[in-house]
Symmetry: C2
Subunit: 256 residues, 2 copies
């Protein structure tokens, strides 16, 4: 029942079904990104920064950053369950940085496009949810960095914050998926109008894209919440880990 | 650490903060229902079955049934943690029946309205997600009833199905919230058009309603997933429960 887990050690085994679920989630995620590209390329004229096509950078960046990469960042602790915790932690933080930077490009794209066109900013539910997601994501990243990567946070504080970090991480990811769905819906109603109800190919493609978004969110959530796929618990690691080097540096060995 | 838990007994104590979080979630849920009513009453002409106002029964029924009641059904095991498990189980099933019936009325309302108006059915992402939610909800209810309420399912089968039931229950609830957001967005873009970007009161009210929907979903998820707020674990109950009456009836005492 108890797995010995040391920095750099690989004592815990990988559950048999986990790799298949992870592979399935990645297939969903990549299909999602490809289909977003296909939608923008086939029906929305493609992407270019210095033109009206600048808007199209927004959905693509958001799907890559705040959906695909954010989702994968959450899965890092399940996928690399046998790697050293510090390595996994850094990869988790890095994926979130990439996601944040790509999302920032997506955010600039839409504000810049609105400014050039003279459109009103931030009136829709999609935009309100989007700003909420972005602010929460930034705060979560800064809090995560301060507690878990920056050395010096006491072990007790890390233990108390960890469940909150995990809950809000999952919630922000789900809210990102929801916000993407709202944005997709907005784009469809703006662009297609009455043609949407005539089952035009673009409408059907975009509906399938929406279902894929929801499925990717569900797949990540499933892998994340399966109790027997979690890394060995904090208490066990704390009790069994023997890495005095990190201990003396003020970094608890069992910290995530 | 181990709590004695017997049918009808009240050995486990309630965590100090839980009632406040539950109260907050209920406040959010009731505000959500009231605000949906206010939106439909103030800006959409109210509700009547035999007229064009039949459509308005759809959002109200869905918010009451598939958001508020479904969410509360998930919370039953946290709120009534000291009640007999069978009582809690029946209440959980009943709340889901109410939610299902109210959602069915909401579903009939929109299909009937579409038929009278000659509108196309099931072309939008909202409707695809809605049908998916409804089918999954029905299957989940039937599976839950067969495994947990109908006597005779072996204990091992119940134990294996329980985590799946909980995961899919939470996922269907979140998908319901997402579908409601898509529907709200659709209604706003259809009804307000250009006025949406002029920050008309209806648009702002509906945006706040959307944020409330997301917050209610988040609050239910938080209460549901907090590890220290769960009922005492299955294994402990199984080992400690002494209710031979239900055992001989083929119903495992620790079953949920």
């Amino acid at each position: 029942i108890v797995c010995l887990s040391m920095e750099g050690g690989a004592a815990a085994s990988t559950p048999a079904a986990l790799p298949y679920y992870v592979a399935f989630s990645q297939l969903l995620g990549l299909t999602l990104v490809a289909m977003t590209g296909a939608w923008l390329g086939l029906y929305r004229g493609g992407i270019a920064w210095e033109s009206d096509l600048q808007f199209n950078a927004h959905p693509l960046c958001m799907v890559i950053g705040l959906v695909f990469l954010q989702g994968d960042a959450l899965l890092v602790y399940r996928v690399f369950r046998n790697e050293a915790k510090r390595t996994t932690k850094v990869l988790h933080g890095l994926l979130h940085v990439f996601a944040l930077v790509i999302a920032l490009v997506g955010l600039v794209a839409v504000f810049d496009y609105h400014r050039k066109k003279g459109y009103t900013d931030l009136y829709s539910l999609h935009s309100w949810c989007g700003i909420l997601v972005f602010v929460l994501y930034l705060v979560q990243w800064l809090a995560g960095f301060s507690f878990f990567l920056f050395p010096g946070a006491p072990f007790s504080l890390r233990s108390r914050y960890r469940p909150q970090h995990i809950f809000f991480g999952a919630t922000i990811f789900l809210l990102s998926v929801g916000t993407a769905l709202l944005g997709l819906k907005e784009a469809l109603l703006f662009n297609l109008g009455d043609k949407y109800s005539a089952f035009e190919p673009e409408g059907v493609l975009a509906n399938v894209l929406g279902l894929l978004l929801a499925c990717f969110g569900g797949a990540v959530l499933y892998i994340l919440t399966r109790a027997d796929w979690k890394r060995p618990s904090q208490a066990e690691e704390q009790a069994l880990s023997m890495d005095f080097k990190t201990l003396t540096e003020g970094d608890s060995p069992g910290s995530q």
